[in-house]
């Protein structure tokens, strides 16, 4: 599969470009306004960045541990509440709280994996699924219990909208988008260029083989889960300024994130980012093309098409 990739890459790009062009023309014809189309593209990219951001941690954990982490959204919410509290009580800039939330979530991830999930590794996959589902429910309801059901929000003083080509974008969303790009680059470098990253990839490719060459597989599991959770933490903090924070806010992103993970190729961090962008664009342009329908209709049409044509995902290669 990898051997014929260079050959088909150009063709694939050409097809993709043609599809994009057709969609843009149709959207323009449907709405009759260039501004609507450029706004849809801009919003789609920014939103897609956020989807990718949420999906990155999820795909990392799936690729290495083979666990579908149903607690991901809830962990993201923990970070949001961290940001809300630090910003409103300690008066920190919301983005500065990243220095607290990401490490804190890293710690929580480590504790969860070493204390709970590691005990179920190697047993039936349903065990891990039920465990993460349970952890997610537990976290969500503890948050509901301790912070109440009142929605909260984080105020950012400098949230002026940016303008380009008649389209507007909130600064907070642009920052989240850039954060997604940064995080993807960071994870990529970590996985490809460091010894730890190489070990993680070895464990993902073949846990038994990795153990034979002296890698502590369980430690790598803990580390990977913690990294994935830290990503959820970063995502939570980065989206906090433009969402209404409630105990279930993280869950909102979860369904889309699962779609993005499968679309991008499970375990592929860059695939998650590209998949996120694709879904974001599809949702927005789909909304313009079919104004009376749910924007998710277009998303799931694309999803089914991709599954049909490339069941392993866009960047599929199980890592």
């Amino acid at each position: 599969m990898t051997r014929r990739a260079p050959l088909s890459l150009a063709a694939r790009l050409a097809v993709a470009a043609a599809v994009v062009a057709v969609v843009l023309v149709l959207a323009y014809a449907r709405s009759g306004s260039g501004i609507v189309v450029s706004q849809a593209v801009l919003t789609g990219l920014l939103l897609g960045g956020v989807y990718g951001l949420v999906a990155m941690g999820l795909t990392l954990i799936f690729g290495v541990l083979d666990i579908v982490n149903f607690a991901h959204g809830a962990l993201m919410t923990v970070a949001m509440y961290g940001t809300v509290l630090l910003a409103s009580h300690a008066g920190l800039d919301p983005y500065l709280t990243l220095l607290v939330t990401a490490p804190a979530l890293f710690g929580i991830g480590m504790a969860l994996q070493s204390g709970l999930i590691n005990r179920t590794m190697g047993s039936s996959l349903a065990n891990q699924l039920l465990l993460t589902l349970g952890i997610g429910l537990l976290i969500e309801n503890v948050l509901l219990l301790s912070f109440g059901s009142e929605p909260r929000s984080v105020a950012v003083g400098y949230a002026a909208p940016l303008r380009a080509f008649g389209a507007v974008a909130d600064l907070t969303r642009v920052i989240a988008f850039l954060g997604a790009l940064g995080l993807a680059a960071l994870l990529y470098l970590l996985l490809q260029r460091t010894r730890v990253g190489t070990a993680i990839r070895a464990v993902a490719a073949n846990p038994d083989g990795a153990q034979l060459v002296g890698i502590d597989v369980r430690r790598m599991y803990v580390l990977t889960f913690a990294l994935g959770t830290a990503c959820a933490g970063a995502a939570g903090t980065l989206v906090a300024p433009f969402v209404t924070v409630e105990a279930t806010t993280g869950e909102l992103f979860n369904i889309i994130a699962f779609v993005v993970v499968v679309l991008g190729g499970m375990g592929n961090v860059v695939g998650a980012l590209v998949g996120g962008l694709l879904i974001g664009l599809t949702e927005q342009l789909g909304g313009v093309l079919l104004p009376e329908q749910s924007p998710l209709l277009a998303v799931f049409v694309v999803f089914v098409l991709v599954l049909f044509l490339r069941p392993q995902g866009l960047f599929g290669r199980s890592s």
């Binding site: 509901l144 059901s149 974008a169 989206v239 499970m266 313009v288 069941p311």
Partner: protein
């Protein structure tokens, strides 16, 4: 490929698991039976967890608060001072759970049910109430269809979707007329379920009847929408006079933020049955972006001294500002209490008779007392118009409920 199938399987399992949740909280069962005096149980079903917990929890508190106040004044006098006891149940926002909880509450001896905040849950609970012949008071649930099934045990205190849409169109036309600002074209942004669609349909019929052009109609998925900028840009490109928004809280805040950054040239942003624009916390969550927004919605009567006392007492006890949905839950328990008072028995069918013939003064901003027609709809239920003025939600129209003059037109804040 193996992984894919696995994910599908796991996801299906997750859905199945989520669907079969919903066990009864222990320790809510009382022992006393049918003797006079003692307690009378009222089942209260609201979403206490999940995304709607914000409103559901306060509504549950308000129902309990009503019972406490009635008990403190001597309980149900025609039943030897019997005390009301409100049993809470969590619908989790899911129709199936609401249905099984309704069944459980009736088995535990509830003389009447109150709830449930969502139309889909209301439909299921109404069916259970009908089968068991127990009165069911709907505090909040808007769909017309709930009362179109020929049920005789279900009553609704709030206005239904079509009257909200129709009255919304009337109010918009009247406000425009009174201020001399013509509104000729209206764009509608609405959430995509039954709620948004039925309000829109009623609004559209009435607005087009009075000469407004309605369109474009843009829908979104309130459950997982996280940005409405493109939708508002479509409104801007259309160059309409007014924007009507129907939806819930979170999406209402998103709409306000998108409106403030896109800046469509509309003369007014007019919510109809909007779950955000008339809530106190909307003014802090949306900030300046929400200034001047109207909302045609059911509302408690802020000019009524008794209502002001309730709000103050509620705040003193729970530390929260009471919202209209909770006042409706409070009213539902009051309706049951005065039904019991009038019936002089706790037999559910005689209670039903008493409720259907009731006429009860209300804390809601309705033009008359609560009384139900044959279908169970409260005939006095009417929305009024609120506006965000200087960071506070004020009642502005019609005149008999106005706390302040409407500011019309009110283009979105720059």
């Amino acid at each position: 490929m193996r992984n894919l199938r696995l994910v599908g399987l796991l996801a299906a399992l997750g859905v199945a698991l989520a669907a079969c949740g919903g066990s009864a909280p222990p320790g809510t069962t009382g022992q006393e039976g049918d003797q006079q005096g003692g307690t009378i149980k009222i089942g209260s079903i609201h979403p206490l967890t999940g995304p709607l917990a914000f409103d559901g929890q306060q509504m549950a508190k308000a129902g309990k608060f009503a019972a406490e106040r009635i008990n403190a004044q001597g309980g149900i006098k025609s039943l030897d001072g019997a005390k009301l006891q409100v049993l809470d149940a969590d619908s989790k926002g899911e129709p199936e759970v609401g249905q099984s909880e309704a069944q459980r509450l009736i088995q535990e001896g509830a003389a009447a049910l109150v709830g449930p905040y969502q139309s889909a849950v209301a439909s299921n609970v109404a069916a259970v109430a009908e089968r068991n012949r127990v009165p069911f008071l709907i505090d909040v649930a808007v769909a017309d269809s709930i009362l179109e099934q020929g049920y005789t045990n279900t009553f609704r205190i709030q206005p239904n979707a079509s009257s909200m849409g129709t009255k919304g169109a009337d109010y918009l036309a009247e406000l425009a007329e009174a201020s001399g600002t013509p509104i000729r074209s209206v764009a509608v942004l609405h959430e995509q379920t039954d709620f948004g669609k039925s309000v829109l349909a009623a609004f559209k019929a009435r607005a087009e009847g009075s000469g407004m052009k309605v369109g474009p109609e843009i829908s979104y998925d309130a459950v997982n929408v996280s940005d409405l900028t493109t939708e508002i840009t479509q409104v801007k490109a259309e160059g309409v006079d007014a924007l009507v928004v129907t939806g819930y809280y979170r999406d209402g805040v998103l709409a306000a933020k998108a409106i403030s950054s896109v800046r469509p040239d509309v003369k007014v942003v007019f919510g109809i049955a909007n779950g955000a624009f008339d809530l106190p916390q909307f003014t802090s969550d949306a900030g300046k972006a929400g200034e001047g927004f109207f909302d045609a919605n059911y509302h408690f009567n802020a000019r009524d001294p008794e209502m002001r006392k309730l709000a103050a007492d509620f705040k003193a006890k729970y530390g929260e500002d009471i919202r209209t949905s909770s006042v409706l839950a409070y009213e539902a328990v009051r309706v049951i209490a005065s039904g019991l008072e009038k019936a002089g028995t706790r037999d559910p069918q005689q209670l039903r008779e008493a409720i259907s013939g009731l006429s009860l003064d209300t804390l809601m901003a309705y033009p008359g007392p609560i009384s139900f027609d044959k279908t169970g709809q409260n005939t006095s239920a009417t929305p009024i118009v609120m506006q965000v003025q200087g960071g506070t939600v004020r009642q502005v129209f019609p005149k008999e409920f106005a706390e302040a003059e409407p500011r019309f037109p009110a283009p979105p804040a720059r």
